[in-house]
């Protein structure tokens, strides 16, 4: 007999923890968190740097401290969780098959499911770098775990490919641990990481950031001995004659994060090809009734504060769904269109009757734009027009829609979020 829970949350990282606490506070009864690692907190456990929580707690915390705040919320509410537990399968009618050493393989029936599995790093295999497969090539997050949680240094002379935040953070971390970080190479003409991390992780230590540059060769058969960098043209092709050689024993990759949605796909959740996360409505509910998504499994965030906020919304809506069946079967809403520089929006549809007084729409832009306006239209009427000195793909943006504006507009065909020159 499968055990029944009101809400089952897949993943005990920042999204899962915040969703659980919010669902509990909204009156959900039996909640269970399933976590594959040996502890709650997810990736925050290895993010020992500071800068978390300014928006949520108005103080600057490290990752483990931020996680601890939410772990305590879960403990105080006596919310159940299972560690070292791997979810194997989920069905559209919300039957979850999971396994661990104590219980073996077991089934759970969930009134609602919250997807909070987070994301994974893009590995070397996803890049077309020629060369052997020597030791010494790590994703930045693997190096972060080795250094911060296991106490090993992956190498002494380091080149970093990709300017994602974890790569930048690791440039500083490895420098402080005595390694020589020679250069950070970024394929794109702009950094993929936050500006603050360029300042405090690279500039502070005189580590050069080379834009429009990639690795064209990895030397070494048993262990990395060096890499060759080259400039790339507008289409990302290496430009002959621009090669530069660096000796190093380690290459870190910080080349993007991909939401981990194998389980979502398996259960039939509709995915966005842009975010690689589920397509969701204003309640952060997927195309499957009672299945919600939040955090990095939905779309990759820069700030954990926003993950917690988003997860809170998913948690409250899941609780509402379990109590009232709210919105079940009402899948169509007003589509939210992303255009003119805006790559996607979360959510991507709005059902006005289920909207809160204000709705945060988050999105990323496709390039670097200076002195532009972020605009939102309800139907043909422009409701938001916000001047920005600079917007870049590395930094998530948001607009806030008011329910009263949507209601006042009556039946509109769509809501549009776009960038405008004036």
């Amino acid at each position: 007999m499968a055990e029944k829970y009101d809400i089952v949350i897949i993943g005990g990282g920042p999204a899962g923890l915040a969703a659980a606490a919010a669902a509990y506070d909204a009156g959900a009864g039996k909640i269970l968190i399933l976590e594959r690692d040996r502890m709650l907190g997810g990736i925050l456990n290895q993010c020992i740097h500071n800068g978390f929580g300014l928006h949520t707690f108005n103080e600057e915390l490290t990752g483990p401290e931020y996680a601890d705040r939410f772990i305590r919320k879960v403990e105080e509410r006596k919310i159940e969780y299972k560690l070292n537990t791997m979810v194997m399968n989920m069905t559209a009618d919300r039957t979850i098959t999971a396994m661990n050493r104590e219980d073996g393989m077991f089934d759970i029936e969930a009134g609602a499911v919250i997807l909070a599995m987070g994301c994974r790093e893009r590995p070397r295999g996803a890049l077309n770098i020629p060369g052997y497969r020597p030791a010494g090539i790590f994703t930045a997050g693997t190096a972060q775990r080795l250094v911060n949680m296991e106490g090993f240094m992956p190498g002494r002379e380091v080149v970093i490919l990709g300017s994602g935040d974890i790569g930048l953070i690791m440039a500083r971390r490895m420098t402080l641990e005595g390694a020589k970080v020679k250069v950070v190479a970024e394929l794109m003409p702009y950094s993929g990481g936050l500006k603050r991390n360029i300042v405090q992780c690279l500039d502070d230590f005189g580590i050069p950031l080379k834009l429009s540059t990639t690795v064209v060769d990895i030397e070494g058969k048993e262990r990395v001995e060096g890499v060759t960098l080259a400039k790339v043209d507008g289409s990302g092709k290496p430009i002959p004659g621009t090669e530069e050689h660096y000796t190093c024993d380690t290459l870190l990759l910080s080349v993007g994060l991909i939401p981990e949605n194998d389980l979502s796909r398996q259960m039939g959740v509709e995915m966005s090809p842009v975010t690689r996360g589920p397509v969701v409505n204003e309640s952060l509910e997927t195309n499957l009734p009672g299945v919600f998504a939040c955090g990095n499994v939905l779309h990759v965030h820069d700030l954990v504060d926003f993950v917690s906020e988003e997860a809170g919304i998913a948690g409250r809506n899941a609780a509402e769904y379990v109590k009232t069946g709210r919105g079940a079967g009402k899948e169509s809403g007003i589509p939210v269109i992303a255009k003119d520089g805006v790559r996607y929006t979360v959510p991507s549809s709005i059902r006005p009757e289920f909207m809160n007084d204000r709705l945060v729409i988050r999105f990323r832009v496709g390039g670097v734009y200076r002195n532009c306006y972020i605009s939102a239209y309800i139907g043909s009427e422009r409701k938001i027009h916000k001047k920005c000195r600079i917007v870049a793909p590395g930094e998530m943006q948001q607009v806030i829609l008011q329910k009263k504006d949507i209601e006042a507009a009556g039946s509109v065909e769509n809501v549009t979020v776009c960038l405008e020159q004036e």
Partner: protein, 119 residues
């Protein structure tokens, strides 16, 4: 009049802040969106400081091999490497709680290094 363009590092918003200086004195700060940013900008051009985070080995913990730590407040930027060096080879005995002092007065800064994880 000298102008310094800064990127605020207080939070991931990364506000672009402009500080106007006259003979080493801050005369005007613009572009910040919160008070922390204003304070940061003033300090960045006169007395640059950073928070240092690291991790040290822990023994006797069932759960952890390492415990993460931070300087309780920011320290002068010139002391960052000395602080990192002082943390090398430090081992602590479990149990450790968030906020426990791991190293007192690190690198002569008057600032303690404290644990940021329970172990």
């Amino acid at each position: 009049m000298e102008k310094r363009e800064l990127t605020c590092i207080q939070c991931p918003m990364g506000c672009a802040i402009t500080v106007e200086m006259d003979g080493g004195e801050v005369v005007n700060i613009t572009g910040y969106t919160c008070n922390r940013g204003k304070i940061y900008a003033g300090k960045e051009v006169t007395n640059t400081t950073r928070t240092v985070t690291s991790s040290v080995r822990v023994t006797g913990s069932a759960k952890e091999d390492m415990v993460s730590v931070k300087t309780k407040t920011d320290i002068p930027k010139s002391k960052v490497f000395e602080c990192a060096k002082a943390l090398k080879g430090v081992t602590v005995q479990a149990p450790v709680h968030i906020g426990d002092v791991i190293v007192r007065d690190v690198a002569g800064t008057g600032v303690d290094v404290v644990a940021t994880r329970n172990a």
